[in-house]
């Protein structure tokens, strides 16, 4: 790789780092080598200085440890009260995180970064509190000793013999904006200790002889200095990258560490991390899943190790394969790994015999990849099982062994009687076959037991000389040992095969589960479908109670979706709310709010958080590493689906908005045009009436007056139609259905139009025996008025109009036929559309009338249609459903 040219990816990362820092608060760490060097003092001094320049500074938590000088510095600083937490009959005073967040100062002082919070606090560790404060945009000053950093704990333990329990992840050093090293020479520190300025008198002597030995302090000082130097080096790198200053670029290394359930893996992981940090390389943590079953404590250990690797910044990969070495090398080649780190714990010779070969194999097939073999110093711990023991340990229980014994006995018995017929070699093969069957059905242990027993019985009962363990013939000796060997190996292999098959099936099931989920989700029609599918699939796969809470407009819904199987009370909901705000998982199995009953994780998409999922598995222990990965994948899918649905809905709404806008515009145009004409007429006629000539002329006067009345009527009808249309569109049209006489309705409509129909002949045909029909009187009257209005407008004056009623096959038909030009054939349906006017037709209508009519008739469950009648004009036909009206009686009065 060209060492001179900056890597664009690295450049981008550096710039992004810079950008991200804009919104976060800035962290300044006061680093020391040991207690008593004066970190808190330095922090307070710095804070006071900053305060004089006008910055809003508050004290979150400061431990003075009774040191008078430190206490003095606290005056004039605003100290936020602590939060009392009850724990085991005492009351602990913890930092009040929410008070700080509410107060929103510019800078807050938080002492002792590595402190562990009392149970019941939001986070387990104080550094998590600090992270949340930084996220909220508040700057933080904090103090910490070098021994607390995770990557250093091993070294510290080696040097001082002290096991450090309260640790802080290295990421805090890396993302800190400033580090101030509070340095003191070891001699000076010891003098301070003697003067009682560090601890109270009783503890001084103990401290001086243990932790505060000169050698220790010197080593710790070096560690602190080195840590600071590394950090400065990195800052320099970043700076040089952003400013594109050519410098000594690190090459693009990639590391891979092989992880096992063993505790020793922790050390390996931390080691790899330091390497990666120093080399500025990315790193992978790999677990190779062979057919070997893990017991619960191993599963826990593995999950813990992988979680730690992930937390430290590794990409976690679970590979599967028969052969660990091959799987590692294959993956390394695939991912362009440059260095592999594997561990070699010091164990018994027997173990070394088995595992040493793994290291050798990896080294041999590594090719151009460097291999680091890191030795451990731990003895095998009680929870650990060695490889050798594993050979015998199986999941079979005593019943399987009993069956095995029984089968062997049975077979031997049968063979005893068959000896004469088939000979002892054949018997041996029969017994061998039995062993294989036992391997398949009952497991490895019983198979080995069967192998041993049957071999011995074969020897004792069937090989000459019979009933002794001696063997005469050499070939029989060979046969015997070979038998045993074959039985043992075949048994083990068969059992292994069975494990693999089971493993493959589980894998297939898992893949199937993912496929099913994706498939079902893709078919979901709406949000409810998606959630239903997600909930049911996840409940089954993870054997858990699930709750999904969606978010709307940036806020989490107050309740979980009704189909959720997990019930949330107020406390649980607040955990979910936290998860939503902070975009990180919380609850059980995590470090944040671990007292919750369920595990909560956010549904994250690139744009936003669409909700929160809560899980309570039915089995109590935490998820295995594979389950965690599967869960992450599931959650990712569901989140994407929900986002897709939300986007669809948004798109639909946008389309509808556009459509209604179009309609709105058309309506406005149409109305303004339609209204202008009658308004113009009224205004014109009225002003005409003012002029003397017209006023004094009775004929002209009555003409104009008539015009005004007609125009007013036209405007009225327009308003009626608009009102009807708006009611139809919004679905607020309410029908007052009652039994009506069709003739009556027609009569009323005709009477209303009396004047305009005056010059035409109107024929109404109605059978008086027609039964009553259910309809809304006023609305059907409107329909008839519109139809009559159209007939008057679009047919030549004086042409007749016929109205007929007919009852046929359960429906009442009312037809209105004119003798005009009719409707163009291709427009017979279109005329019922809103705003449609037949081209070249005389003006006078809005184009709304027929659409309103159809809407009204449809609301009755009927039909309105048009056709042309040869020899006449157009015929409009209203069909209304008819049924039997109730009977009437004569009055009793």
């Amino acid at each position: 790789m060209d060492k001179q040219r900056p890597d664009p990816d690295q450049l981008l990362a550096a710039v992004q780092r810079q950008e991200n820092n804009q919104h976060r608060g800035k962290l300044k760490i006061f680093l020391g080598m040991a207690a008593g060097v004066g970190k808190t003092y330095a922090m307070l001094e710095s804070a006071r200085q900053v305060k004089t320049s006008g910055i809003d500074v508050v004290v979150g938590v400061v431990e003075t440890h009774g040191r008078a000088e430190t206490q003095a510095l606290l005056t004039d600083l605003e100290v936020l009260p602590r939060r009392p937490v009850e724990y085991h009959n005492t009351v602990l005073q913890e930092m009040d995180l929410d008070a700080i967040l509410n107060r929103q100062p510019q800078l807050v002082l938080v002492d002792e970064l590595a402190h562990t919070n009392a149970p019941g606090s939001r986070h387990i560790k104080r550094y998590q509190d600090v992270l949340e404060i930084l996220e909220a945009g508040i700057d933080v000053y904090t103090t910490v000793n070098v021994q607390h950093f995770e990557s250093r704990t091993d070294s510290v333990q080696q040097i001082t013999g002290v096991q450090v329990h309260e640790t802080v992840p290295d990421t805090l050093i890396e993302t800190a904006d400033r580090i101030e090293l509070v340095d003191l020479s070891p001699e000076d520190l010891r003098r301070r200790l003697a003067e009682g300025k560090v601890y109270t008198a009783e503890r001084v002597e103990v401290a001086a002889n243990n932790f505060f030995r000169l050698g220790n302090l010197t080593a710790l000082r070096e560690m602190a200095l080195r840590l600071t130097a590394e950090r400065v080096d990195h800052q320099l790198q970043d700076y040089m990258q952003v400013k594109q200053i050519a410098g000594p670029w690190k090459s693009g290394e990639r590391l891979m560490v092989a992880v096992s359930p063993a505790r020793f893996s922790e050390r390996l992981i931390r080691w790899t991390r330091r390497m990666a940090y120093n080399l500025e390389a990315s790193w992978l943590a790999v677990y190779v899943d062979t057919a070997r079953q893990l017991n619960p404590s191993e599963k826990d250990g593995l999950a813990r190790n992988l979680a730690m690797a992930r937390k430290l910044g590794a990409e976690v990969v679970i590979a599967s394969g028969e052969n660990i070495a091959t799987a590692l090398i294959d993956l390394a080649r695939q991912r362009n790994i440059t260095q592999i780190v594997i561990g070699k714990p010091l164990r018994s010779r027997w173990d070394e015999f088995l595992t040493g070969s793994l290291v050798d194999r990896v080294i041999r097939s590594s090719g151009s990849i460097d291999v680091y073999v890191v030795t451990g110093d731990e003895p095998a711990q009680p929870g650990q099982t060695s490889q050798a023991r594993l050979v015998l340990q199986t999941h079979s229980n005593w019943r399987h062994y009993a069956y095995s014994l029984a089968i062997v006995t049975a077979i031997s018995l049968v063979d005893y009687f068959a000896l004469a017929g088939i000979g002892y070699q054949a018997i041996g093969l029969i017994e061998l076959f039995a062993v294989l069957l036992i391997a398949v059905l009952l497991g490895r242990g019983p198979a080995l037991l069967a192998a041993t027993l049957s071999a011995l019985s074969w020897n004792y009962f069937f090989i000459e000389p019979r009933f002794t363990f001696a063997i005469y013939r050499t070939q029989d000796v060979i046969l015997f040992f070979l038998y045993f060997g074959i039985a043992a190996v075949a048994g083990t292999l068969t059992a292994r095969l069975r494990e693999q098959e089971k493993r493959a099936r589980t894998n297939a099931e898992r893949t199937m589960a993912l496929y099913t989920l994706t498939h079902e989700l893709a078919q979901a029609l709406n949000m409810d479908d998606i959630l239903k599918t997600a909930l049911s699939q996840m409940s089954i796969i993870f054997d858990a109670d699930i709750a999904i809470i969606l978010a709307q407009e940036g806020k989490l819904n107050p309740a979980a979706h009704p189909l959720s199987t997990l019930q949330l009370n107020e406390k649980e909901y607040s955990v979910a709310a936290w998860v939503f705000e902070n975009g990180k998982p919380a609850g059980r199995f995590t470090d944040t709010l671990p007292m919750a009953t369920a595990y909560y994780t956010p549904l994250l998409t690139p744009n936003r958080t669409v909700g929160v999922v809560g899980l309570t598995p039915h089995q109590v222990s935490r998820f295995s590493a594979e389950q965690e990965i599967l869960l992450e994948t599931f959650i990712g899918q569901v989140a994407l689906m929900i986002e897709r649905e939300l986007l669809d809905e948004a798109a639909d709404q946008a389309a509808m908005l556009r459509k209604s806008e179009n309609l709105y515009n058309t309506l406005l145009n149409s109305i303004s045009h339609e209204m202008r004409t009658p308004i113009a007429t009224i205004s014109g006629a009225a002003s005409g009436l003012e002029t003397e000539q017209i006023r004094l002329n009775p004929e002209s006067r009555s003409v104009l007056v008539q015009d005004i009345r007609d125009s007013a009527e036209r405007l009225n009808r327009l308003v009626e139609n608009l009102l009807d249309m708006s009611r139809l569109e919004s679905g607020r049209l309410q029908l007052r259905m009652e039994w009506c006489d069709a003739a009556e309705v027609i009569g009323v409509a005709v009477k209303q139009m009396e004047k305009r129909l005056a010059k035409r002949s109107l024929l109404i045909q109605h059978d008086p025996l027609t039964p009553l029909v259910q309809m809304d009187f006023v609305l059907i009257e409107q329909v008839l008025l519109n139809l009559l209005d159209n007939a008057c407008l679009y047919t030549p004056a004086g042409t007749p109009i016929e109205i007929e009623t007919r009852l046929q096959s359960g429906r009442l038909e009312i037809t209105l036929t004119d003798h005009g030009p009719g409707v163009p054939e291709d427009a017979l349906e279109q005329i019922f559309e809103k705003f449609y006017r037949i081209p070249n037709s005389p003006t006078g209508g809005t184009g709304l009338g027929l659409s309103v009519c159809r809407g009204i008739v449809k609301a009755h469950g009927g039909q309105l249609s048009a056709k042309n009648i040869p020899g006449a004009g157009a015929r409009f036909s209203i069909l209304l459903p008819a049924s039997n009206p109730p009977p009437v009686k004569e009055s009793a009065k």
Binding site: D741, A892, K893
Partner: protein, 227 residues
């Protein structure tokens, strides 16, 4: 100067009050105005008009409320002005004691005709024993109905219906009022009775039952005998 009947016009719209005043005064009426329900009640009490024209869309008071209060102490005829859609309100007011109604927009002739009818019915004068309209003659004393001189056979219910219409000739009768009078309180919901019986009446008495001249339907409200 003789002054005609005294009319109180109640409407919150100035233009409506103005054109009503002009039309009515041109026909010899004396007109007073009120813009709110409260004002109207006070003026009705003080001035005792012969007729009140009441608009339904008053700002301060529900029309029904006002009418009920009025009817507590007065039988002054009331004509309601309404818009097309307030059917239920119209019917409610008619049942509560209003005499007639007009739907905006209305013509002045219509208004004057209904005013005259309402005021006529308010006067306790002798009702004639014989009434005729078109080719129909009804002798209320002898309970006989003839058409072009020939007897028309009406069922007792049909006759009761006809008599009721004649008693309120020119005025609108709501479905409820008719059913209550002719059939009784339990039947006030059975409007289909009216459809059937009116169809029968028209068949027997009207020249063209499908285009009745006298027995008119008031859509959504009731019926009216127009003579």
């Amino acid at each position: 100067m003789t002054s005609g009947p005294h009319i109180l016009v109640v409407d919150d719209e100035l233009q409506i009050r103005r054109f009503l005043r002009i039309s009515l005064e041109a026909n010899g009426y004396v007109v007073d105005e009120a813009g709110t329900g409260q004002d109207a009640i006070v003026k009705s009490a003080l001035q005792r008009p012969d007729l009140i024209i009441l608009d339904l869309g008053l700002p301060d008071m529900d029309g029904l409320e006002m009418l009920k209060r009025l009817r507590e102490w007065s039988q002054i005829p009331v004509i309601i002005l309404s818009v097309r859609d307030s059917d239920r309100d119209k019917v409610g007011l008619l049942d509560a004691g209003a005499d007639d109604y007009l739907t905006k927009p209305f013509s002045t002739e219509e208004l004057l005709a209904r005013m005259r009818t309402a005021m006529r019915h308010a006067r306790p004068e002798e009702k004639p024993a014989v009434v005729s309209f078109g080719e129909i003659q009804v002798d209320l004393a002898r309970r006989s109905v003839t058409r072009r001189g020939e007897m028309v056979k009406l069922t007792p219910t049909e006759y009761a219906l006809l008599r009721l219409l004649i008693q309120h000739a020119g005025k609108v009768l709501t479905h409820r009022q008719i059913l209550h009078e002719v059939w009784g309180k339990e039947y006030v919901q059975e409007t289909h009775y009216l459809r059937v019986y009116f169809a029968q009446l028209r068949q027997k008495l009207e020249e063209d039952p499908t285009r009745p001249m006298f027995i008119l339907t008031e859509p959504g409200v009731g019926y009216r005998l127009h003579i």
